[in-house]
Amino acid sequence: MHELSIAISLVEIAEEEAERLGGKVIAVHLKLGPMAGVVKDALLFSYEIACQETALEGSRLVIEDTPLIVFCPQCRTNRVLGSPQLLRCFECGTPTPEVVGGRELQMVAMEVEDAA
């Protein structure tokens, strides 16, 4: 369960950004890929704990799931796959180790409320 340490990193980054932006953080938006090695529910749970007694306390974590995308060398195009358990092109069946999307663990936006 490394989601807590990831949540702590996330809160640290958000605090840094919040200081730069000014205002109160209402929400943090994160992109999470199926191959990031992070469990969404565990991260949501950990986020709340990591926020305690920080400037982020009470903020929401909004997670956007990103798709698993591989490049098919046969079709020469990207394919969106439903599961990391079978990395092969669903059109031609060629196995491909080339993962081009799905490892994201990236903060993408913050919702900030300015004081009057």
């Binding site: 950004e17 990031a36 358990q85 491909t96 663990l105 993408v108 300015d114 009057a116």
Partner: protein, 226 residues
């Protein structure tokens, strides 16, 4: 009065600190000419036994060392020390995986330029280590025949993050009715093209081929760096 919240685009990679440090370590290893191999697996897969035999076999011809990560106890380092290679334990406490910063700290005082191969044994865990680059050149995922052939399907992310699959405890393959073909199919499903090496550290089966593989990788890395 309060304004409506504003949405601000902030693009930050959450594990950037680890990734940046891992890149620096990789560069340091390259400059020092040391080839770094990491091992990930579930607890009890035989990583430590494999590593002990590996160090013993390699130290006849090469300068080798190991870092070994564990939640608690220094038992593994004590076992590995029997190989007479330099070994350091990284006790992670409650952390279930190694991070680049732990590797950096553990290397303090070691002259990397004197080493040919450095092994990093991760904490026994098939989930968390997948997210952390340690600056290694090659990552082995270790799967023992007693664990069953479907481990790759259960933990596709870690298998995908590795470069080579080591199948250990091959001396028990018959007793556990382990099917190499099924394991291979599952490994190839989650990481197409991944090389598999079967060994028994106990009987020595497959160990010469495995050592030859490591030496070839070392030679290739040196030729590439030269």
């Amino acid at each position: 009065m309060r304004h409506e919240p504003r949405l601000v685009e902030v693009r930050r990679n959450v594990l950037k600190q680890n990734d940046v440090l891992a890149r620096e370590l990789r560069e340091r290893f390259r400059e020092a000419g040391v080839f770094v191999v990491s091992l990930v697996s579930s607890p009890g897969s035989g990583k430590t036994m494999l590593l002990e035999r590996t160090l013993t076999l390699l130290r006849e011809r090469h300068s080798v060392a190991a870092l070994v990560g564990d939640l608690a106890t220094e038992n593994d380092a004590a076992r590995l020390a029997r190989s007479e290679a330099p070994v350091r334990q990284i006790t992670t406490g409650t952390t279930c995986h190694l991070e680049a910063t732990m590797v950096e700290r553990a290397l303090e005082g070691w002259n990397l330029a004197e080493l040919d191969i450095l092994f990093i044994e991760n904490v026994g865990n098939l989930v968390c280590p997948a997210s952390y680059d340690l600056g290694e050149s090659l990552r082995f995922v270790v799967l023992s025949v007693t664990e069953g052939e479907d481990k790759p399907l259960k933990y596709p992310t870690i298998f995908n993050s590795a470069d080579v699959a080591m199948i250990t405890k091959m001396d028990l393959a018959a007793a556990t009715e382990f099917s190499w073909e099924t394991a291979e199919r599952n490994i190839q499903a989650v990481r197409p093209g991944m090389q598999m090496i079967g060994v028994s550290a106990k009987t020595g089966e497959g160990m010469p081929e495995y050592v030859a593989f490591l030496e070839a990788q070392l030679a290739e890395a040196r030729a590439g760096a030269a």
